[in-house]
Symmetry: C2
Subunit: 208 residues, 2 copies
């Protein structure tokens, strides 16, 4: 396991990134308490900026957990909506409750089930956010290519997989992430970059 970004730097950035929204703070507290994996606040802020720049009509999330990343998307949305998908009813129920309390529910749609299958119900996806099992990333993007809008953005969490991408590990998650990265970096229809925030955030811009 490799430390991707120097912890002192992360601490400095967290200190700069003050937050007053009580729902964000509560979700961060719960995540810590239950050791539930969420993209952290620094990644959340990146999602906010990317959403402002893209101004999307439709965001589809594969693997929403209890709604932390979706909350950042919804916060930044001007007119569009975000579709949350998770396999666990409990997660989606929690997200729905939070969104209702924060008066963001009108910007969201809540789905339970297999993320890739449910996502096929949507066309002209402007932002596809991927945070499911790591060996399924490549399959997810390949199966949903036709559902993307022109100039869509693919954003994938854990694209450096705790640094395992650079080692010799051959487990299916590490291999899956490596293949996913290589696929998008070498695909002629995409321009791809990975930002070494937290566990690595891949951002791929569809060129046509």
């Amino acid at each position: 396991m490799i430390t991707i970004t120097e912890p002192k730097i992360e601490k400095y950035l967290m200190k700069l990134s003050r937050e007053a929204d009580r729902h964000i703070l509560e979700m961060e507290r719960i995540a810590k308490q239950r050791d539930f994996p969420i993209v952290d606040r620094l990644v959340g802020r990146l999602l906010f900026v990317l959403t402002k720049l893209k101004n999307p009509k439709l965001i589809v999330e594969l693997g929403s957990g209890f709604g932390y990343s979706a909350y950042w998307f919804a916060r930044a949305l001007e007119k569009g909506r975000v579709v949350l998908i998770d396999t666990l009813q409990d997660n989606i129920d929690y997200a729905k409750k939070t969104f209702q309390q924060a008066r963001l529910a009108h910007k969201a749609e809540f789905r339970v089930g297999n993320a890739i299958e449910r996502a096929k119900d949507y066309n002209n996806i402007d932002i596809l956010f991927i945070d499911i099992d790591k060996h399924q990333y490549l399959e997810a993007v390949q199966k949903l290519l036709a559902n993307l809008n022109d100039n869509a953005l693919i954003i994938a969490d854990n694209s450096l997989w705790h640094g395992r991408v650079v080692g010799k590990k051959r487990d299916r998650d590490t291999v899956g992430i490596r293949k996913f990265n290589e696929y998008l970096f070498s695909h002629r229809d995409f321009f791809t970059t990975v930002l070494p925030l937290r566990d690595g955030v891949l951002v791929a811009y569809k060129l046509s």
Copy 2:
């Protein structure tokens, strides 16, 4: 001095970021040979993605060096132009030659002089890129606030200043970068994040 991102991760990302453009490769070679500071290829790729998302009419660079970052901006531009400003005539001459050879000169304007002063000639700036002396960052953004367009993007290189921002150093460059970061993170008109790529890239989105 702190290593911001684990070098093995940077190496992995560089390997994924293959490049065929001979002008990019030549500028990277020259920078290495002369030990001339440029944003590297990973930051260049980030600038490309941000430019595609923003689709700006006008980009103004403060501190263009010999044109490496401007080249990435120009490559991504659909219809707008990028203004390069540097204090050194030699740098701007080199950039101009490169842009002409690459048939990108029609997307660029070349200026020699004090970056902040020259930049005041422009209004409705969609992307302001800052890479001048570090103690001047805060002054630059304060003096040019009125020249920014609605929803402009400020992008600043070296916003982690080799990790010195987290130490006890009190030299004017380190203090300057700290103040600049704090100013934009706490400004109510901006939503700000720093991406720990290379030496730190600050990205601030103007909310109105």
